[in-house]
């Protein structure tokens, strides 16, 4: 197998316990209408014997109602369907402790959010926003969320499906995985710089070049998985690590988007970010008393 692009269901099978994936049921919620959000695959599986919610993209599906949805694009129905799967997971485990809340495994292979006039008229931004808020809520409630990039993780679609996870893993780019806002050729055209110059600059600065390696340097990807058959172990390992952090209460600083900020500094890819945040905090500290209750 040299790539998993377009094979979200295959990847679910490779990551989860054999034949454990039950599509369209999460907790008490079932998704009975096959024409609803077909570009999103949601369901429940076992991972190392434990119940997990799985959310993936279906690159073969075409949404008849919203024809901008194909090839794994997340449309309005897809975004809300994914959000519903997350809320159903939270609801199912609301009485559970952090040690037992089910993990969410995001299998990422999506080229974009639905672009289109109807989408803009009705607000595609709400659908993708709704899913991200749901993931952030689940993460903060104690569900470990691990994203596994198996194919395309492009720009806003990656923000939607992936970047709210506690930890993000990516298959090596030798399997065709793509993580970027735009390919370097497009960036070159838009910022009007020669591609050769950009490629050279990218060697020293990972902030604009495409690929998992550069995101890893920026702390945007926790681990690059070098073999397809290594995905399962990696996901199990990261779920366990994230769960341990949640139980210990250290997840706030070490996982999720905020934790990846710290990782970006540690890997020297995003060195300015923490300086700016620290400066802002120190400047605020000097004037804060003027804004506290009772101050004039």
């Amino acid at each position: 197998m040299d790539t998993l692009i377009g094979q979200g269901r295959t990847a679910i099978g490779l990551i989860c316990d054999p034949d454990s994936f039950v599509e369209n049921t999460v907790g008490a919620k079932s998704f009975d209408d096959p024409s609803f959000g077909p570009g999103a695959v949601v369901g429940t599986a076992k991972l190392d014997g434990k119940t997990v919610t799985v959310i993936a993209n279906d690159a073969d599906a075409f949404n008849e109602k919203f024809p901008v949805v194909y090839a794994g694009i997340i449309g309005m129905e897809e975004g809300y369907k994914m959000a519903q799967a997350v809320y159903a997971s939270i609801e199912a485990d609301k009485a559970e402790s952090k040690a037992n809340k089910r993990a969410l495994v995001l299998v990422v292979d999506t080229p974009g959010n639905g672009p289109g006039k109807v989408e803009e008229i009705f607000g595609m931004n709400k659908a993708t926003g709704a899913y991200q808020l749901a993931l952030a809520e689940a993460r903060l409630a104690g569900h470990p969320i691990v994203a596994m990039v198996i194919g395309r993780a492009i720009s806003g679609a990656f923000l939607c499906h992936g970047l709210q996870a506690d930890h993000i893993l990516s298959l090596d780019s030798k399997f065709g995985t793509m993580i970027h806002v735009m390919p370097l050729t497009s960036i070159s055209r838009i910022v009007k710089k020669d591609i050769e110059i950009l490629e050279k600059l990218a060697e020293g600065n990972p902030v604009f070049a495409a690929g998992p390696r550069f995101f890893s340097k920026l702390g945007g990807v926790e681990e690059i998985v070098t073999e397809i058959d290594g995905m399962r172990d990696a996901v199990i390992r990261h779920v366990a690590a994230v769960r341990a952090a949640k139980v210990a209460g250290t997840d706030g600083e070490t996982t999720g988007p905020w934790g990846r900020g710290a990782l970006g500094a540690e890997r020297a890819g995003r060195a300015v970010r923490p300086e700016v945040i620290a400066l802002l905090q120190s400047e605020l500290a000097q004037v804060a008393s003027r804004y506290l209750p009772g101050a004039n």
Binding site: A83, N125, K126, A130, A136, V181, M182, L218, P257, A288
Partner: protein, 318 residues
Amino acid sequence: MSKWSTLLSRSFLESNARERALGLVDDGTFTELVGPFDRRTSPHLETLGEAVEFDDGIVTGIGKIGKTPVFVISQEGRFIGGAVGEVGGAKMVGTIKAAIDFADRIAKDYPNATDEEKPIVAISFETGGVRLHEANAGLLAHAEVMDQLQKARHKVPVIALIGSKVGCFGGMGFVAAATDVIVMSEFGRLGLTGPEVIEQEMGKDEFDSADRALVYRTTGGRHKYVMGDCNFLVEDTIAAFRAQLAELAKLPREKFEELRRIGSEVLVAKQLKGVALAAEMQPKDSRDVWVHAGNPDPVSLALAPVADFRAQAKRLAL
């Protein structure tokens, strides 16, 4: 007349980010944080030989409206379209986080503080999302902002103000959607995929980005008001945005959840009714939806003065 009071009557659209920030809060109360004198320009733009700005295209700070501490984030569209890079993204993330920490401090040290004395965040959006010159860092900053918005829930109301030239698109389009309240002027535009990108991806038949009227009909403040995607539609002055903000600052904090469009299972179910309507109607134009919402003469309605529009417009019931 003081400089501040002259700001108030100014067009929000025509003003720059700093003028908006200063005018939104009470005279003399604004303290800029990581402002231009800190000279935190983008090292990545410098590497690429691109012009830099001392504030990296975003004004962040704290001010007051009455008794309410207001953390202000104001994006500058004239600097690279207000796009978000590493420095500007960190300022945005840092400001929301600071507001949450500030609320925690007040909750701990001032148990009798009234809601009016607790902080709010106001974000004036003017951006197409990620800055391509530092695209990866910009993208990661978006995810951080979204995370902070969820962390702010039930603690610090976050209010989106959209009335700038560039509008609010790309990743910031869903960041704005995820705030508690959205205030727009009729010149504000909110969406995900900008008009040029839709045309590029779907063809001119789907969307002619040069058709300004179409662009405003699809993503402009009036349409978003009819759809319920923006909560309040105000006149295009700094004073009008400020007045709406001042009114919201007095609102009991638990009321903000009621103003949300997304952020819970119930709200997702409600939005899905809209999606079902979209599938059923397959509208060719936003005005079809206006008619469906109970506005039989959308053309006149769209031309009515804002106050009349607000009084007359029927909003889509889901």
